[in-house]
Symmetry: C2
Subunit: 237 residues, 2 copies
């Protein structure tokens, strides 16, 4: 937790933040070992970043006087489209994309995604919110990514993609092409990454027909936890 | 395990590979669900890649007829210098650098590295070997990375670095500079990444004096598991 994120209901009528949950209290007291008068890095969810000075510590609550003046870092211009990963990988991936500033993530059904993954408790909204929060606290950002569901491949490609393609470039991490992945895109870009085992040929054909450019990352096979930061590093923005 | 790596003592006098360890046997039988006559992707450690056809299955052993004709993927030209991570992070990082083709990794003491980390069982040679093996099996490569120890910061910078600087560019992931990290380096490059909390100012000064160019990754704070693939994706090669 490199940043303490404050929600609307953390604020009292005087505009001070009053924290009462054990997760943040323990972090402040045990990790930061902060005391009265100490200043911490804080931010308001979907708002500005700044500092919070501890003005009161009680059993079960810490009150911060906050000064929020700084814009959060610019968002990534990547809209990631990801074959739904296995639940434990999804957990880490949600943290990573939030930490790296991705604001749009579509989780996509694909032939190689086990249907049961869609029933995982890891996909409950409160679990997803918790992982994204950890990522924002790690990376120091205030704006939550928006998670989109595409539980059927073809309707997504036929009905949703055409709208997105009007405003985005579109890249597909592809094992069998020789076009290297570009670096440093400055344009809004859809980035499609297959599930474990990859998209099947028919799915690749549909994405290519929809306008995706296949790009290679070389011969190595990467786990989703690795390929996500690898590609975000490569594409920048 | 996208590739089954074979060691010298796996081979019988006829040149067949005879696997006897439960890890690889279980993988072949339970994950691949392979049987007599099936062909698997195999490679010889530090050697060529190719295929292995199952010619015998016994209780406790599987015999493969191997054909190795393919070069492993080209190595990364990055020599990574990493403030020694916490043991669980080290474990994942070793897998990641092996999977991504890094062949030289120096683990470096730094003021913000807890001394106790150097005593972790995770640093035993057989544990390191096991993690690197998992990474090579994941990424599909045959050549083990070489892990260097730099248990004292100043002697490393003063005695070891000057030799390396003669043949390498040198980049330092740095929170307070504005020079963006380059993309797609094609030259041998030393890449220094601080420990959790970063290098201290004095260490940054010593690395800069030694010739390292500080480069920024933006405002976001990344975990070592994230920054390693992020930078390897960015720098390519």
């Amino acid at each position: 937790m490199n940043l303490i994120l404050l929600f609307g209901d953390d604020f009292d009528p005087q505009g001070h933040a009053v924290l009462r949950d054990s997760r943040r209290l323990e972090h402040i007291l045990k990790i930061h070992r902060a005391g009265l008068g100490d200043t911490l890095r804080v931010a308001q969810v979907e708002g500005l970043m700044g500092t919070g000075t501890i003005i009161d510590i009680n059993t079960g609550s810490i009150t911060l006087e906050v000064h929020l003046t700084q814009q959060p870092p610019p968002p990534s211009n990547i809209h990631m489209i990801l074959g739904l990963p296995r639940p434990p990988m999804l957990k880490r991936t949600l943290q990573t994309i939030a930490a790296l500033g991705v604001k749009q993530l579509t989780l996509l059904q694909s032939a190689r995604v086990e249907k049961s993954y869609w029933q995982s408790p890891q996909l409950h909204p409160e679990k997803i919110h918790a992982e994204l929060l950890l990522g924002l606290e790690q990376g120091c950002d205030t704006r939550f990514p928006v998670i989109h569901w595409a539980k059927r491949f073809r309707p997504f490609v036929e009905d949703e993609l055409p709208k997105l393609m009007q405003t985005h470039d579109a890249l597909l991490a592809h094992p069998y092409v020789t076009t290297p992945c570009p670096t440093e895109t400055n344009r809004p870009t859809l980035l499609a990454i297959g599930p474990e085992g990859g998209f099947i040929d028919n799915e690749i054909a549909m994405l290519t027909k929809a306008g995706f450019q296949g790009v290679t990352l070389g011969e190595r096979i990467m786990r989703v936890e690795t390929v996500v930061p690898y590609l975000l590093g490569r594409l920048g923005g």
